[in-house]
């Protein structure tokens, strides 16, 4: 199938070796690339019960058939591993240029295992992968590491690296890409750190992939770009306000979590909104490779500069902690990026510490609204000092140490993003069933329940939500395997993606075919998690969402009816009542031999 090099590189850090392997036609057809390829490899290559921070765990970085083509938003790439935060299979996704340059070197994927005896980094250039010494930059933050490696490898190098948080095995550590972009969630930075791997540096190569039908692709791309540019979300809101354009909208509907999800709206939200960022911080917009949306924001405060904050970050480090000072929130976001910490998990974990203090459960010394204490706490987390050492484990483990896990706003130990499900029932089901724990990018029901894309549905209703969610979840697996950006899907759908894929690969794919591929990947992830001991009891939400309605605001009086939704969901998925795929489902998806 065209669009791929059909080649992966294995890096064994135990033995300091690099080997090249072929990716079979069958594997490519069934899993496409990106996340799908990574999931297929991880599920078959690492044994059950592997320590996520042990040498046996693998990190798989992969691009897909659409990367580097003229398809809009095709600059993204995926990472798959077993997460130290959740214990689940975990895929993450990042943008920028790193992935496209990696593909030009002649590879579709990089599979890393083992542990280096000393700090190292991986240098990738045209048809070549080399393991190099990183002793000099071990201990540096992300900015310094990036500067150092560019000085070593040349100005055209793109750097993917960890900061001190990853080195210190912080379970909410991220991997930073081009300084400000991230494989943010799940503690994937700690996995890299556990391997003594500081960075992966890539320089553009010369290897091209064959596009089967460039003329058709050109025509399909034209119609897609027209739609992306003309649609209000991708054509106007995101370019003008970035993802933080959501703040005022989500707050208006009463599902903008405040103070560790104790409320769903605040009169102060506008102070940290996309409009406020545009007015007070914006320097210029920025776009990933071949992206007509350009949602990135280069910004500066009175004392710092960087990128963002994104919607989730401005919420987690702001409203969730009761902080509405935009300067403080933006600086905390920059600091997370510099230290290599996930902004969502950091903010929600600190908010948890604030609530335990508020309730007299733990004397954490930090209260809602203490914006000046956020950055010192982030530094403690990254270096695992004082309270930071407890918070470095994430909110669930932290709160559990005080016998109060109910105040950890997480699913499968991963902190939740910025949409309270009491204001969007379907999003609650999406959180509960996400294979990587609390996440909005594994089925964004808010798109329909609040934003009305592709069509508005009753946000408090239950009927039909499971069916819609399954389609959306399958769709995320496809998008992350092609690999394109989910934001483009505010404008274009699987009808476009199937045509892109057909034109690139030369194999005929319909939208329905893509749904089946997505379903296969989702179920394989589920099988991995079942193997690791997860079950229906883990497909749940913080108790607060199911028992404590908001007392006021546009979403008041509502709780999530999770068990009803979950029963529907399992039935739609073709799983039994405990959430195990039935034989019939596995047979349909050609997964029986992997069960």
């Amino acid at each position: 199938m065209n669009g791929l090099h059909h080649a992966l590189m294995r890096v064994n850090l135990n033995e300091n070796t690099v080997t090249r392997e072929e990716i079979s036609e069958e594997l490519a057809e069934q899993y496409l690339g990106g996340t799908g390829l990574g999931v297929a490899l991880l599920c078959t290559e690492i044994p059950s019960g592997v320590d996520p921070l042990g040498p046996e765990n693998e990190v798989i970085i992969a691009t897909g058939p659409l990367n580097g083509t003229r398809v809009p938003t095709s600059g993204r790439f995926s990472l798959v591993t077993k997460s130290p935060l959740t214990g689940t299979i975990f895929d993450s996704n990042s943008g920028g240029f790193w992935g496209v340059w990696f593909k030009t070197c002649g590879f579709d994927a990089l599979v890393i295992n083992g542990k280096s005896s000393s700090p190292c980094y991986i240098a990738i250039e045209d048809q070549s992968v080399t393991i190099k010494d990183a002793s000099e930059c071990w201990g540096m933050d992300v900015d310094a590491t990036t500067d150092f490696l560019i000085s070593q490898e040349g100005k055209n190098a793109k750097v993917l690296c960890i900061g001190p948080a990853g080195e210190n095995l912080v379970k909410i550590a991220s991997i930073m890409n081009d300084r400000h972009r991230a494989f943010g969630r799940g503690g994937v930075g700690a996995v890299i750190g556990s391997k003594n791997l500081k960075a992966l540096v890539v320089k553009p190569g010369k290897q091209k992939v064959i596009i089967s039908d460039p003329e058709s692709l050109k025509a399909f791309v034209k119609t897609a770009v027209d739609k992306i540019i003309q649609a209000p979300i991708t054509g106007r809101s995101m370019p003008n306000f970035g993802t933080a354009g959501l703040v005022n909208v989500i707050n208006t509907f009463g599902l903008f979590p405040i103070n560790n999800h104790q409320a769903g709206a605040s009169d102060l939200a506008n102070q940290i909104s996309g409009e406020a960022i545009r007015k007070q911080l914006l320097v210029e917009s920025e776009a990933c490779f071949n992206c007509p949306i350009g949602c990135g924001r280069l910004t500066k405060t009175e004392t710092m500069n960087g990128k963002g904050p994104e919607y989730e970050s401005v919420w987690a480090l702001g409203a969730e902690c009761g902080v509405f000072d935009l300067q403080q929130v933006a600086n905390a976001n920059y600091e997370c990026n510099r230290l290599g910490i996930d902004t969502i998990s950091a903010g929600v974990t600190i908010a948890c510490a604030m609530e335990l203090n508020q309730r007299g459960i733990a004397d954490t010394g930090v209260n809602f609204g203490d914006g000046d204490k956020i950055i010192p706490l982030l530094r403690q987390i990254a270096s695992r000092e004082a309270l930071g050492n407890e918070l470095a484990e994430g909110s669930f483990r932290f709160a559990s140490n005080y016998n109060s896990p109910q105040y950890a706003m997480c699913v499968k130990k991963q902190e939740l993003p910025a949409y309270d499900p009491r204001g969007a029932q379907g999003q609650g089901l999406a959180y509960a069933t996400s294979n990587r724990g609390g996440c909005h990018l594994r089925g964004f029901l808010v798109g329909m329940e609040i934003l009305g894309v592709p069509k508005k549905i009753d946000r408090f209703g239950v009927a039909g939500k499971a069916d819609i969610l399954v389609r959306l979840q399958n769709g995320t697996r496809v998008t992350d395997s092609l690999v394109t950006c989910k934001f483009a899907e505010y404008s274009i759908g699987s009808d476009h993606l199937s045509r892109f894929l057909t034109a690139v690969t030369g194999k005929s794919y319909s939208a329905a075919d893509l749904d089946v591929i997505g379903e296969r990947i989702w179920n394989l992830e589920r099988l991995f998690n079942l193997r690791e001991g997860f079950s229906r009891t883990d497909d749940t939400l913080p108790e607060r969402f199911m028992t404590e309605p908001f007392e006021d605001g546009p979403s008041k009086g509502v709780v999530v009816h999770l068990q009803d939704l979950l029963d529907q969901y399992y039935e739609v998925r073709g799983w039994d009542e405990m959430g195990v795929p039935t034989d019939q489902t596995l047979e349909k998806l050609s997964l029986r031999r992997l069960a």
Partner: protein
């Protein structure tokens, strides 16, 4: 056997819209939604413009059950569509301009900007007995795998979507596209701006 109130209410609403826009005759057309391994579908003989709670029937996606006694004549087509596509709702109706153009064209291409932006093209399928389920169940689903709307020549359209409202939207867009095309052709004058030329819809 009957749909829960939340689902009935949506059927009633969309049924009224189809009737008011004259996309069906009084007792024609049918609509359905999929929920896991079951579907809800309009009862045979019921008027879409005046649906009662007992007019929305639950039946299986694959299994034959006694609901077939009262469910829509075209239940089999709806089942086949759900089995072959990722649609979660289907609207079947008889928009006059789409059906009229299907008599003379093999596919109906949008020449207006709105239609070009949304559905681009309505493929037309043709077979000897277009009214009823058996052949429609063979010819319609493959097209709906890649298009939101398909027209059965001299009969009507099937439109799919994530929700009933979305499928209804595609049905109305199809009729709008066909109406504009029909009226424009009727003038006999050359088209100054054909939106379909921009995106090369012959390959879409």
């Amino acid at each position: 056997m009957f749909a829960p109130p939340e689902i009935y209410e949506e059927f009633r609403r969309i049924g009224q819209f189809l009737d008011r826009r004259m996309l069906i005759s009084s007792h024609a057309g049918n609509i359905s939604t999929r929920h896991g391994n079951k579907i809800y579908i309009k009862r045979r003989g019921a008027m879409l413009g005046d649906l009662k709670p007992e007019d929305v029937i639950e039946t299986g996606l694959n299994d034959l059950d006694s609901s077939i006694l009262i469910s829509s004549t075209e239940t089999g087509v709806h089942q086949a569509i759900y089995n072959a596509t990722s649609h979660l709702a289907v609207v079947h109706c008889h928009p006059p301009h789409v059906v009229a153009l299907s008599m003379i064209e093999d596919d109906i291409t949008a020449i207006d900007a709105e239609g070009a932006f949304t559905i681009k093209r309505i493929p037309v399928v043709s077979y000897p007995h277009p009214v009823g389920a058996i052949e429609s169940a063979i010819y319609v689903p493959p097209v709906l795998q890649n298009y939101p709307v398909v027209c059965v020549r001299s009969h009507g359209i099937f439109a799919g979507g994530v929700t009933l409202e979305e499928a209804y939207m595609y049905a109305t867009i199809a009729e709008e596209v066909a109406t504009i095309r029909y009226l424009t052709l009727l003038t006999g004058k050359p088209i100054l701006t054909d939106a379909s030329e921009r995106g090369k819809f012959d390959i879409w």
